[in-house]
Amino acid sequence: MAFAFCVLFLQGCAGWQSALDPKGPAAGELAWLIWFFTALCAVVWALVMIALAAPLVMRSRSGDEPLLLDEAAERGKMRVVVSAVGVTTIILIGLTLLSFFANRTLAAIGSEAALTIRVTGHQWWWEVRYEDATPSRILTTANEIHIPAGEPVRLLLTSTDVIHSFWIPSLAGKLDLIPGHMNVLDIKADKPGVYRGQCAEFCGAQHANMGTFIIAEPRPKFDAWLNDQLQPAGAPASGEAKVGADLFLKRPCVMCHRIGGTPAGGTVAPDLTHIASRQTLAAGTLTMSRGNLAAWIADPQGIKPGSHMPVVELSGDELNAVVAYLEGLK
């Protein structure tokens, strides 16, 4: 019964964001450590509880002379205590060694990483920059990190405002993004899939709405994605979208956002060159759709109070035009 309950309970741990459902070597190593530590400590805890409960249940053999010591019995007890201390020491050293070797495995993952991605934390979104020796092949995007499945990827983590923490539970442990400092995290996804991540260091009002997605794809699909993303934004398709593109450049949007291939070159807010190709808006807060785009532009402070996206004065027609333009940025 209890076992069935536990199994049901642990079923809830599977999914796209779970340290107990590892999808990569680093997370696998950590999950194994979690289970082993938990199991071993549970056994030790049970033994200690039994040792504590035993004297309460068993009757004392010393009879009516509690101060009279039986030397043989005392020596026996001493042996038990000494061996318990010995076993504890061995267990602690063993667990330390296990952690050490697990750490070595984690450190070895990225040794031959071919892809380096710089992840910069902002309040409250993630800037993602694919490094390349050729400047024209450097790609900047936001909140979604595509990686080739089965290949190690090196992530350089930093921040521009406060300390954030990058955590993709299904792939790796968490690591802080610190302003003025670069941390290195190597990850690898064994199989293609979408893995959700979350800022794991309280970073302000919208800390909870600072999600990210790792999208692991087979290498050819990843290369195709990267080449698509490197293209400048397509020309607006409809007349309405053309008006929207014009408004984007005339209104406050252009002060912060960049759209490749247009004069919009702001770098302090997410790059919108291919915004419609992403799955979510505002760092995993809303799913990508025309309605949500409009809602986000019309009332960002209602959806994510305190976020740095201001309320921009746009009439209904202007809003529709801007949304029509952004919706076409695939």
Partner: protein, 177 residues
């Protein structure tokens, strides 16, 4: 009962102290709020009329949150490109006592919104009205026209010496012993 009340009173007083400023990030009537007339000159046909004080100015001035947001936007919108962190460059300095067009919130707001002759561009269409007010509040703070308890701090990299915990050890003068 009396003791509970006696404990409640200082607690209430202490909690009241937590209220430093309002953070209104969601303006109620966004549309058209930037069109409010702000006089750019005192020369008016038919004599001088009383200058209307914008009620927004009061809610942004000396507000710690709005001033720090203004500081962030000052960097983001590259005001430093001409005003160099307030010290002045291609554009006039903002930290001194000289105000070509007046030091009031309304004047600075009008300067950013409508621009001024000889260089200052108009940002009326490019920056939402509330953000212009935040910038104006910060620009006023640059010249020391804001209470020091609310004014944003200068960045570490602009200090004349490193912060105290990063100063070289006086005994070794920064050299390893």
């Amino acid at each position: 009962m009396r003791r509970a009340l006696a404990m409640l009173l200082p607690l209430t007083l202490a909690l009241v102290a937590c209220q430093r400023e309002e953070r209104d990030t969601r303006p109620q009537s966004a549309l058209g709020s930037g069109e409010q007339p702000t006089p750019v000159t005192t020369l008016e046909p038919g004599g001088q009329r009383p200058s209307p004080t914008d009620n927004k100015a009061a809610s942004f001035e000396a507000n710690a949150f709005h001033m720090s947001e203004g500081k962030r936007l000052f960097g983001w919108f590259n005001c430093s490109g001409c005003h160099a962190n307030g010290g002045g460059g291609m554009g006039p300095a903002l930290m001194d006592e000289k105000w070509i067009y007046g030091s009031s919130m309304e004047s600075i707001h009008a300067t950013i919104r409508d621009g001024r002759p000889n260089g200052m561009p108009s940002f009326g269409q490019k920056i939402p009205d509330d953000q212009i007010w935040e910038l104006a509040a910060f620009v006023r703070a640059l010249g020391g026209n804001a209470p020091s308890s609310a004014a944003p701090q200068r960045n570490d990299d602009m200090m004349v010496h490193p912060s105290e915990n990063r100063l070289p050890d006086a005994a070794t003068l920064g050299k390893s012993p």
